[in-house]
């Protein structure tokens, strides 16, 4: 599991949020499947040299978001509908995460709407 996750210690983003995001991404991509156990706090802490309190804080975000569940004495498990929840969330955020940024950059570059639309079309035909 060593290369499944990557943390950026130089990032402005707090480490516990990176932990939450990395695990979320692994669930989204199916690396951690529904009902399966995810690596323990200790494993992640050890493998990436992150304070266990930080790892736990990240995991607790996922618990609060209904993606993973703690089974007492066993560890953390991916909930049945976790992947679907992430998909829904990412769809909701797609406009903000990708379109808004693209339009800002397009304006900076002086690319008009028609050009962007043709680029989007090209993107879809290029598989």
């Amino acid at each position: 599991m060593v290369m499944i996750m990557q943390f950026n210690f130089n990032s402005a983003e707090p480490l516990y949020l990176q932990v939450a995001e990395q695990i979320e991404n692994a669930i989204f991509l199916g690396s951690f499947a529904a009902k399966e156990q995810i690596p323990s706090t200790t494993e992640i802490s050890r493998d990436f040299q992150i304070n266990p309190a930080t790892v736990l804080k990240g995991m607790n975000i996922l618990v609060a978001n209904g993606l993973i569940q703690k089974k007492r004495g066993l560890g953390m498990f991916v909930l049945e509908d976790a992947q679907e929840k992430i998909r829904t969330k990412r769809k909701d955020q797609f406009f903000q995460d990708y379109i808004v940024k693209m339009v800002v950059e397009a304006r900076n570059l002086g690319l008009d709407q028609a050009t962007i639309q043709s680029l989007v079309e090209r993107g879809f035909t290029q598989e």
Binding site: F7, F9, N10, S11, A12, E13, P14, L15, Y16, T41, T42, S45, R46, D47, F48, Q49, I50, N51, P52, A53, T54
Partner: protein, 289 residues
């Protein structure tokens, strides 16, 4: 669980004051980073904590008891330092046995596991070990003693990248198995940035920061953009340093930004990492507020 309290610790060598009225408390089961530039007084502080040298004034309390000539109190605390305190002819396994006389709970099983992982031959004499293996041996001892508070002064001195990573992994593993307090003093800040929960920063003998890593980074910013607009935006804020490239400028701000101010489109605000914060806080001219 052991609590260590420093009250107004000062240390002078001749006319030179090395530590000035340092007070703080080490919380149980917490990993601290003790940071400071060369000569800031870090090693002196660690030596005073373990009663290897006396303070000029002030006192160290371990679970409410003075640490001076107090074997019971000092048995709860262990210092791994750059100094080599072992007879050169003593073999590695003999050093473990000797350590166990002072720390009866010494974990021989863990020590053996670690010598295997690090490739350290227990039959070698201390004098035959390289600088890196001197550090490795002392690190193994530090992780194997049953002290509640373990102080690590430059634990990765002379270690290659692989061994540094292995050491920090083993540190996290043993911390999970048996939570206790660690104080790590190192110049390789980026390597411990993720694992220290709390930062103690010493500058010119003063303790200038004692806060959680998360809190510190949450109020550290880089304001970047055209020189003039950046300086307008950061005017009156606690700017601890800057970098310039032509007319482009980054001002590093430690503390609150002014929410009332309008951020120009050309100026961006980002966070900074612990190393950048450290460098800017410990430059000669900057002051911590």
């Amino acid at each position: 669980m052991t609590e260590v309290t420093l009250n107004q610790i000062s240390k002078t060598f001749g006319k030179q004051t090395v530590l000035k009225e340092i007070s703080f408390q080490l919380k149980p089961n917490t990993i601290y980073g003790l940071l400071g530039r060369n000569g800031a007084g870090k090693s002196t502080l660690l030596n005073i904590l373990t009663n290897r040298i006396p303070a000029s004034s002030g006192e160290v309390q371990i679970d409410g008891q003075s640490n001076i000539n107090n074997d019971a109190a000092l048995g709860k605390i262990y210092l791994m330092s750059e100094q080599n305190l072992y007879p050169s002819r003593m073999k590695v396994f003999q050093i473990f046995r000797q350590t166990a006389l002072f720390y009866p709970g010494f974990d021989f099983e863990l020590a053996h596991q670690l010598t295997a992982k690090f490739g350290l031959n227990e039959n070698l004499r201390f004098s035959r070990l390289s600088t890196g293996y001197h550090s490795i041996l002392k690190d193994i001892i530090a992780l194997s003693v049953d002290a509640d508070v373990v102080l690590l002064d430059e634990p990765t001195l002379g270690l290659d990248a692989n061994h540094r990573e292995l050491f920090y992994q083993e540190l996290m593993e043993t911390y999970a198995d048996r939570p206790r307090t660690f104080v790590i003093s190192t110049h390789l800040i980026e390597e411990i940035a993720g694992l220290i929960e709390n930062v103690l920063l010493i500058k010119d003998g003063n303790l200038v920061l004692n806060d959680s890593t998360e809190n510190l980074l949450a109020r550290s910013y880089a304001v970047t953009g055209p020189e003039k607009q950046v300086q307008e935006y950061t005017k009156g804020l606690n700017v601890i340093g800057h970098d310039s490239l032509g007319k482009l400028r980054s001002d590093y701000v430690f503390g609150k930004l002014d929410d009332e101010r309008i951020l120009p489109d050309t100026v961006s605000v980002d966070g900074i990492d612990l190393k950048k914060l450290f460098i800017n806080l410990t430059n000669r001219e900057s002051e911590v507020h």
